[in-house]
Amino acid sequence: MAHDHHDHDHDEPPSELLMRVKSLETLLVDKGLVDPAALDALIERYEHKVGPRNGAQVVAKAWADPAYKERLLADGSAAIAELGHTGRQGEHMVVVENTPAVHNLVVCTLCSCYPWPVLGLPPVWYKSSPYRSRAVIDPRGVLAEFGTAVPDDVEVRVWDSTSEMRYLVLPERPPGTDGWPEDRLADLVSRNSMIGVEPAKAPEAAS
């Protein structure tokens, strides 16, 4: 009797879910409540336009430009808005910096709050019960699952997104990247490094 309850592998046939969603969509469109063009635009926006490249741009600029980094840590929302990344689920941004003394990790235990304008929509694992339950009680075990080891004397600082504040991790700049331009630096900034489960990529690992 071992059901599989993985969030992306539910035992209800997807076709049934598709029919349920389509039925609701038909109802709301026919009733005049929803513009079908809005659905297309929403999907297009969050599937193709808004994603972790935005956040990577922010991080790379902070690495390359000390004045920007200062503004970013002082007022995340304003500094990120300079680059045009604003809006829903990122109205109030706080950028938290990894240092040799502090490793930041972001979770939302109560639902799955996530900074959409800079990271896009959250991955399945971020929304899963295992991550939501374990990140606060066993952050080092979580990090180990991502291959990340943090020394015992470094503070693992978990941010539980219980309000509309949204947290973006500024990972440590990898060594060996002196003088790199921002677009090259941005290639080292993975989505996972901005959630805090991994460090930024080493230069040799970047594509």
Binding site: L28, L33, E145, V156
Partner: protein, 219 residues
């Protein structure tokens, strides 16, 4: 409410088992795309707040909540809200066909999507009352167990931490979930992991939680 959603500190859900970042699509099936977009579009009608949406999902039967995928919960929450707010009738929902046309004050048009999403819905809000706490204060998360929506998670209640950030007035989630938009001072409180979880937690580690003033008392 002390629902299945309040899962910080639970055991037994198994490994995280992440998909590799480079291989994970934004959506895993077409029904997810539709459920996502429908949820945002129907919220734009203005019938309910984001906190009401959260509360609708929290009220899903606990066994179902834990078994459902993310967008299934969104879909189920949306169905609840549409009927509770009288936007559609239960009969319409069951039939998938309207019995009459609606005449909403506003709907989200396709050409307005990008601007609306880029604008978002800020929750920072002017507040007359001075804050009771300041950065550096020791505070205790109140022991409270409301049956309604709250963002004071069970795992911090009763525990003492230190105010590390004060964000000013923000729309208070507990009230906003029932349509009452008002501000309370919002703080980030840092808890020592060992205070929350006991001696097996990392000695250097902390958990920071955003807590509104009504969740807090002086320690």
């Amino acid at each position: 409410m002390n629902g299945p959603h309040d899962m910080g500190g639970m055991h037994g859900f198994g490994p995280i088992d992440p998909e590799p970042e480079s291989q994970e699509p934004v959506f895993h099936a077409d029904w997810e795309r539709r459920a996502f977009a429908l949820t945002l579009a129907s919220a734009a009608i203005g019938g309910w707040t984001l906190d009401a949406s959260r509360f609708a999902r929290e009220r899903i039967d606990p066994a179902d909540y834990l078994a459902m995928s993310y967008y299934e919960k969104w879909l189920e929450g949306m169905r609840t809200l549409l009927v509770e707010h009288g936007v559609v009738s239960a009969a319409e929902l069951a039939a998938g066909r309207p019995t009459e046309k609606a005449n909403p004050d506003r709907i989200l048009r396709g050409d307005a999507v990008d601007a609306a999403m880029a604008r978002g819905g800020p929750t920072e809000m002017a507040i007359d009352a001075a804050p009771v706490f300041k950065v550096g204060d020791r505070v205790r998360a109140r022991v409270m167990n409301p049956e309604g929506h709250t963002r004071n998670p069970r795992y911090v209640r009763g525990h003492v931490g230190t105010v590390v950030l004060h964000h000013g007035g923000h729309v208070y989630a507990d009230a906003n979930a029932v349509g009452e938009r008002r501000a309370e001072h919002l703080y980030t409180v840092s808890f020592a992991a060992r205070d929350l979880w006991g001696e097996r937690a990392g000695a250097a580690d902390t958990v920071r939680v955003d807590l509104w003033q009504p969740y807090l008392e002086p320690a």
